[in-house]
């Protein structure tokens, strides 16, 4: 190639092997690969009408009442991070999934997978934070299990929690993507990206002028207030793994609709935004643990905002967008400078850029 002329560039590219014969980290990232895993491996094996709802939890009719049932596993590293621990994440994560079904969280199970050599003090801290979180969320931990694996086969503590909640009598119809309508307003319950950046800052040893704390919290009080106020809630989604962008893409894809966002309205704290700029990350894709999006009829958006802003966990709520009356399975964002772009689903882990 040394004597290659500029006018005869070799215009080539490789055809790589598709990485579908092994699990990679991105399969757990909540983006496209996670969805492929669900569609190709889990759905064919387990498909039924309740799974087909593709909601955060299953809704079960039992003797005239409706129960919500959900499960979640927690593998976060570090176990203790600014603003929380794996323990409160495990409680709030499952409680919030129930809340997203419009269900009052009642009972939890907890399964612990502990790694040989884990310091007892760490476990105590994790359990204490679980206890506190359960008290705050007003749920009882009613059954559990413990396993210990060899050193090197776990990451300190893995926790699984499952939860049961009661769907409130004032919930009419189904809260979920199927109820989203063109014209709906999209409200997010506070500033985005704090959990993901709090974790990353510890994991990567990044220090900021003021520490960024995880937003891990129970969002049921906000949902309860909406329901009690009689707001017609169409859909609720917590903005965990994959952040707002992934959540909205899932809904846009499920319902063949277009969701329109305005970048200038999306709340992101300055420290989080700065961290994202430095790392080359997009806060729209960063995980939250105490934030949700709610779809309500446009006519009720102001009333809904007024209600949720009075609740501490959702006091920073903002109306950020709307559902367009056009098909397209896309999320479109009007940037600050007035251009439009598609906010796509993430194809793998968000990776820090070189420069």
């Amino acid at each position: 190639m040394a004597d290659a002329k500029i006018s005869s560039f070799s215009l080539n590219c490789p055809v790589p092997r598709v990485a579908d014969d092994r699990i990679v980290l991105a399969h757990g990232g909540g983006g496209r690969l996670t969805h492929q895993l669900i569609e190709k491996i889990f759905m064919p094996a387990f498909s039924n009408d309740m799974l087909e709802q593709r909601h955060d939890g299953a809704v079960l009719a039992v003797n005239g009442s409706r129960l919500a049932f959900t499960t979640d596993s927690f593998v976060v590293r570090p176990l203790i991070f600014p603003g929380g621990t794996i323990g409160d994440l495990a409680v709030f994560g499952t409680v919030n999934d129930l809340a997203m079904c419009g269900a009052r969280p009642l009972y939890l199970s907890a399964g612990f997978i502990l790694e040989e050599g884990l310091e007892m003090e760490t476990l105590r801290t994790v359990v204490a934070s679980m206890q506190e979180a359960a008290a705050k969320a007003n749920v009882r931990l009613v059954t559990g299990d413990t396993k210990v694996v060899d050193k090197g086969k776990g990451d300190g503590v893995f926790v699984n929690t499952s939860g049961i909640g009661l769907i409130e009598a004032n919930v009419k119809g189904t809260i979920g993507p199927a109820s989203v309508q063109p014209g709906d307003a999209v409200i997010v319950s506070g500033d985005l990206g704090r959990h993901g950046i709090a974790i990353l800052s510890v994991r990567e040893g990044l220090e900021f002028e003021s520490p960024i704390l995880s937003d891990t919290d129970c969002v049921w009080p906000a949902v309860e207030a909406l329901l009690n106020a009689g707001v017609e809630v169409h859909c609720l989604r917590d903005l965990t793994r994959g952040g707002l962008a992934t959540t909205l893409n899932e809904i846009a894809g499920d319902r063949n609709i277009c969701i329109y966002l305005e970048e200038s309205l999306i709340p992101v704290e300055e420290t989080v935004q700065s961290a994202c700029e430095i790392l080359g990350l997009d806060p729209l894709y960063v995980a939250n643990e105490g934030r949700f999006a709610v779809f309500v009829p446009a006519a009720q958006a102001d009333a809904a905002l007024e209600v949720v802003k009075r609740i501490p966990v959702s006091s920073g709520s903002v109306r950020v967008g709307r559902v367009e009356d056009s098909p397209g399975r896309t999320v479109v964002l009007q940037s600050r400078i007035g251009g439009n772009r598609v906010v796509d689903m993430l194809s793998g882990e968000q990776l820090p850029r070189i420069c």
Binding site: A4, F9, P14, R22, G280, G339, V343, S347, I354
Partner: protein, 376 residues
């Protein structure tokens, strides 16, 4: 921290776009060199604001895109060794080599780590004296000082279990290569602001003169880019071909002299293979003199199968600005970020990935969900 909102102001953007519209009398093709600029253009939907006469083409300034496949294969081979901790910036991990990416070998058990600075890799070397720690030193002039400093520091501290797999590339020779190509469509350049913070912009004067092409050193925020386009268009319309500095808040004519000194101490200029473009003379850095002992190429002789590239992807045309990503038949059909046929689909700075993720051209909404179904 400031500069988050000042350079993304809608009113100011409209004013600049208005000024560009008033200035333009005929079609112009302008290349932004740097992938970071491409990212901003696509992410902010900046082309929506431009008059039809302005065509932006996306240059080769994405280190992920231009790092040759042979080097990815080498990185993969080194990373697979049980005695090695392989460190890289995040977005190199997904780049496909001949058969595997660094992510693939990580999934198979290789110790591959994402770091934010080569000095972090050096720390790892100190903490793991029984391991060989290798840093994948890719990038343009922007990342060269930090990489040079890692080698310098290793030498200073007498650390022996550390090495660099170097694939540094330089902007001005690539610009010359593009300009001397008979296919060249570029009439003006937005030079890469961050490269110039290090190197300054004196080396662009002879290029502007020789090829009669305006070169405007430009920043990375939406307003920077609009301003850079305005300055370039003004030159084109007025028949000027000068080097101008839009990014004066960060770039000085002479650049960062101490950084240049460190680079010169550790690196020497070398011919370099560019993925999709071929070899360009004097277009890269390699370790020099006493720092060659930190060259991973020497430490881990590569005996793999020669790399092969398939003709399915038109990334060479993309990187030269001759074609746009959505003009590639494979775009969003055979080639997606999950299954990239070429490097520009990998990094968020790559033109193809930028189009895919944020994909919107004037009056043409790319619909990945529909067109991408063939690969799923």
């Amino acid at each position: 921290m400031k500069f988050l909102s000042e350079y993304r102001d809608q009113k100011a953007a409209e004013q600049l776009a208005g000024a560009i519209r008033r200035k333009v009398t005929r079609p112009w093709t302008i290349m932004e060199i740097c992938g970071g600029q491409t990212h901003t253009i696509v992410k902010s939907g900046l082309e929506d604001l431009l008059p039809r006469e302005i065509s932006l083409v996306h240059g080769p300034g994405c280190p992920v895109c231009v790092t040759p496949i042979e080097l990815i294969d080498k990185a993969v081979a080194i990373a697979k060794r049980p005695d090695v901790i392989f460190c890289s910036f995040g977005d190199m991990l997904r780049v496909p080599g001949s058969t595997k990416s660094l992510f693939d070998v990580k999934a198979e058990g290789a110790d591959v780590r994402i770091v934010y600075s080569p000095l972090d890799a050096l720390k790892l070397a100190k903490a793991n004296p029984e391991k060989q720690v290798v840093f994948f030193a890719v990038g343009f002039e922007t990342t060269a000082p930090a990489n040079a400093m890692a080698a310098w520091q290793a030498d200073h501290d007498g650390i022996e279990n550390f090495s660099l797999l170097v694939s540094h590339v330089l902007v001005p020779p690539a610009m010359e290569a593009l300009l001397s190509s008979e296919n060249c469509v570029v009439q003006g350049f937005l030079a890469a602001g961050h490269v110039c913070t290090i190197m300054g912009f004196e080396e662009y004067f002879p290029i502007a003169a020789k090829y009669t092409v305006p070169i405007v050193v430009t920043g990375f925020e939406p307003l920077d880019i609009l301003d850079g386009i305005l300055m370039t268009v003004a030159q084109l319309e007025e028949g000027r071909h000068e080097v101008e500095n839009q990014y004066a808040r960060a770039v000085r004519r002479e650049g960062n002299r101490p950084a240049q000194k460190t680079i010169a101490e550790v690196f020497e200029v070398t011919p370099r293979e560019w993925r999709g473009l071929g070899e360009i003379p004097a277009s890269g850095f390699q370790l020099r003199g006493r720092f060659q002992k930190y060259d991973a190429n020497r430490r881990f002789p590569f005996t793999g199968i020669p790399a092969h590239e398939s003709p399915d992807c038109i990334s060479g045309l993309i990187l030269q600005g001759i074609k746009k990503p959505h003009e590639c038949p494979a775009f969003a059909v055979k080639c997606t970020p999950e299954n990239p046929l070429g490097a520009p689909m990998v990094s968020s700075e790559g033109a193809c990935a930028a189009y895919y993720h944020y994909g919107r051209r004037q009056n043409q909404l790319v619909q990945p969900e529909l067109s991408g179904s063939a690969s799923r």
